[in-house]
Subunit: 159 residues, 2 copies
DNA sequence: GAATTCTTGACTAATTTAGTCGGCAATGTA
DNA sequence: TACATTGCCGACTAAATTAGTCAAGAATTC
């Protein structure tokens, strides 16, 4: 399982969607602002998330994205593999040709590790994450604080 | 914990050293040939391994590298962090400034994951790896088969 | 002194990451 | 119907990282 900022961004964005579930479609612009991720980059990520039906979209004014399924039914592992097509710690990506078309010395080690990481992350759902205190705290801060820098006097008008 | 081919190469090379322990110093050229890793790249990796005293070196003819400690006392995690200085899944590398100088939504998730991977890999030693059947099989192949491509008719003359 | 082998550092090609930019497509609202 | 809003798509790009190459030198053995 490859772990890059790409996957991290995707999970963060999906968690944002989960947190704001029930408020109708959420625009990427909102997510970009709250989570500090570039809008155009989000567009790329959501193209892949949509392909896997992890999100569904509504165009036009008032449009945006919503979760494709319930938050309890979306695992972190799924989100990562959706954006990060490459899912393996092994050089060969599961094939056994890491060296001269044969398994390299440490092939099984990386394979086992991949399995474990995948297992771990596939048992954590977006819903699990939402319930964590640390996540709730950060979410609260993002709600209140508004766009951190652009804060200042507008603070009162939040929501 | 960052997992890249760099770390994989390092672990593979160290495991090769462990397997050929007791045959005196092993040259990087040998490792390069057996494991299919570029010699100059190995030089870079071993410079770091030496700094951490995971290997010790002998110069001159008949020289080479040997393990810096017993194979039971060297964990996979140590080898990876030696070559891969960056050890964290979090964007901030353990600091809490992933977003606007504060924790990002998923900070703790990545932190936990890092911990787990590190735990897992720090409990596996080079000695453990050597004892695995799959490793022994590949090692045997490398011993017999010689440089794979250059095999052909020389096959009989192995060892 | 010549051959080996490690040691060091500067350089480089290819790939990946993390974006930017621009235009088009659908849809709701005035 | 016009237009503003939002997603959709593809081409392009800057920066970083990976995976090396290359060359010179230092220690050691024969």
């Amino acid at each position: 399982m490859r772990l890059t900022t790409k996957g991290r961004y995707a999970v963060t964005a999906m968690l944002d969607l989960a947190i704001h579930h029930g408020e109708g479609p959420i625009t990427l612009a909102d997510i970009a602002q709250r989570q500090g991720i570039s809008l155009s980059y989000l567009e790329q990520l959501f193209a892949r998330l949509r392909k896997r039906q992890l999100v569904s979209s509504v165009r036009g004014p008032g449009g945006g994205y919503t979760l494709g399924r319930n938050a309890e039914e979306i695992s972190v592992a799924e989100v990562i593999t959706a954006v990060d097509e490459n899912v393996d710690t092994t050089r060969c990506g599961g094939a056994h040709n890491c060296q001269d078309n044969q398994k390299c010395l440490t092939h099984e080690l990386w394979h086992d590790l991949s399995d474990r990481i995948h297992d771990y992350l596939s048992r954590i759902t977006l819903d699990d994450l939402m319930k964590r205190r640390d996540v709730q705290e950060v979410a609260q801060r993002q709600e209140d604080g508004a766009p951190s820098v652009a804060a200042g006097s507008l603070k009162a008008q939040a929501r």
